[in-house]
Amino acid sequence: MHQFLSANIYQVNYYSPENILKFAEYLYQEGDYIRAAAEFQRYLFYYGEDLATKDSIYHKIGLCYRFSNDLQKSINYFQKVIFNYPQSNYLDDSYYQASYCYFLMGKYKESIAFSEANISFVKSDTIKLKMQQMIGINYIYKKEWMKALDFFDSFEEKEKKDSFTTLLVNFTKEGQRLPTKSRFLAGLISSVIPGTGKMYCHRTTDGIFSLLTIGLTSWQAYEGFHKKGINSVKGWIYGTISAFFYLGNIYGSIVAVNIYNQQLENRFFKKIEITLNAHF
């Protein structure tokens, strides 16, 4: 079965720079960012150095890469705007976006350093505030609660009253008070009464099972040694198993604390992430 379809009677100049730009914008709106970036680059290629709006295209490409999670490339494009177009309308946002990209990459130190070094060049008050908030957010993600609080405290009154700043301060206070568990304490109580370290991390069943396992194997070892003395094979087998379980339980309690704390922090940071996505 062959189906011949009619030819397009309109011959559009698909590859004219204007149409490439239109198509790139369409792909950007559709959320097809990688293709959009390629089309924006093709548009730049056509114009070479003559394009007056090159900064806006670099900025758009940067955004495309940011949305497609290719963050290092994104930073490179924002830096092109920063270094080559000091008078650009996109300069302020490029500073902010580059800082945000460092944050998204988990490079909190770099994000803070970049924001602190460049915030004075930002003219827009809104973006300036956003960059300040970005510094604070980086401190939160570094779990440097006191530094974050001190930093937010250094804001001017008007900036302090900003609803998002207030929210970030609340997050910082919440982070400071996160009910994390102590690894040392878990290890210690588990070495005194096996299983209690796990119970301390709200893993009661696990704890009871550890207590029973260690208790029963120890009892078997005791019984073996009690009946046949130091030469009891049963005593040595169960004694070894029991010692193995005992040490494993102490280690397991410390791991349980790590997991508990990690889960607690993950939930906390997930909440912040959702707020950030809604705000930025």
Binding site: M1, H2, Q3, F4, L5, S6, A7, N8, Y10, Q11, V12, Y14, N19, K22, F23, Y26, L27, D32, R35, A38, E39, T213, L216, W219, Q220, E223
Partner: protein, 287 residues
């Protein structure tokens, strides 16, 4: 997956692809990229064509979505593929083309393992399509979909609509397929529940019932040995040891034995079904 390879071979042989003949530059470039297997670039060019033709009532828009869908299908990006097929169906200008694309969408759904979705779509086509050829294709692929989900009765019913309406040389194939499907319907499967009950009463017997003799004997010996430990402890009045052995050794092997019995029955049934599926697909690929 090899199983899908044979399925695609059947599809390709039975129904050749729609292709475009166009003097449109963008579409021509897209076709060239598609033909050399550069699907990423092909999709970009088809999208470009769609964007600049969106204000026209052009059959090639639907065709471009169709080719995008095929490109995504070749990359096994099922969600994007299904989305493109749906757009292709929405933008098609004729009922016939729409139905053709629905068949392709159903093939994609089968390939992605969404048999229920495919069957629903194909039944609708069988019921409402105005074209006899489409109805036949729909019943053929419904048969294929039923084969993959091991619904032999439904597959037989679907093929019985497809085969009698095509050329006489396929009649022999139909006879072979129908005979195999009839055999598949009569196969005595092993009940996973019954296997579990057997192994609960006598460890290993569920596995033996499911044809897994080695595992069954192994389970029987281990459970007899651990059970012996328990009884021996009771006779020696070592109740603490008895509880310990039951809790930590016997219980573990006994539960494992019950679980394995159920799994063995499921595996047995799958092996039988898979063997029928392979044989039927082999026959169908000769069409």
């Amino acid at each position: 997956m090899p199983i899908f390879k044979s399925f695609f071979q059947i599809s390709a042989v039975l129904f050749s692809m729609t292709f475009v003949s166009s003097s449109d530059l963008c579409l021509d470039i897209a076709e060239k990229f598609f033909n050399i297997g550069d699907y990423y670039a092909a999709i970009t060019e088809y999208k470009r064509f769609i964007f600049f033709s969106s204000n026209t009532n052009n059959e090639n828009i639907s065709y471009s979505y169709y080719k995008i869908a095929l490109a995504y299908r070749n990359q096994q990006k099922w969600n994007e593929c299904i989305d493109a097929f749906q757009r292709s169906i929405q933008t098609a200008l004729t009922e016939g083309t729409r139905d053709e694309r629905k068949i392709d969408l159903a093939i994609t759904l089968i390939s992605s393992g969404n048999y229920n979705g495919a069957e629903f779509l194909l039944i609708k086509l069988e019921m409402f399509s105005q074209v006899q050829e489409i109805k036949q294709k729909a019943s053929f692929f419904r048969g294929i979909s039923s084969l993959y989900s091991f619904k032999w009765k439904q597959a037989r019913e679907a093929f019985s609509f497809y085969f009698p309406n095509i050329q006489s040389e396929s009649k022999e194939i139909f006879k072979q397929v129908d005979s195999l499907l009839a055999n598949a319907e009569d196969v005595k499967y092993r009940s996973p529940k019954l296997a579990k009950i057997f192994s609960t009463i006598l460890p290993g017997s569920g596995q033996i019932y499911a044809g897994n003799w080695r595992n069954g004997i192994n389970a029987l010996l281990i459970n007899v040995a651990t059970g012996y430990l328990f009884i021996n402890d009771i006779f020696n009045r070592e109740y603490f040891d008895a509880i310990f052995n039951t809790l930590f050794i016997f219980e573990r092997f006994y539960s494992g034995n019950r679980f394995n019995a159920e799994e063995s029955a499921k595996k047995y049934n799958y092996r039988i079904n898979k063997s029928f599926l392979d044989r039927i697909l082999k026959i169908l690929s000769s069409i």
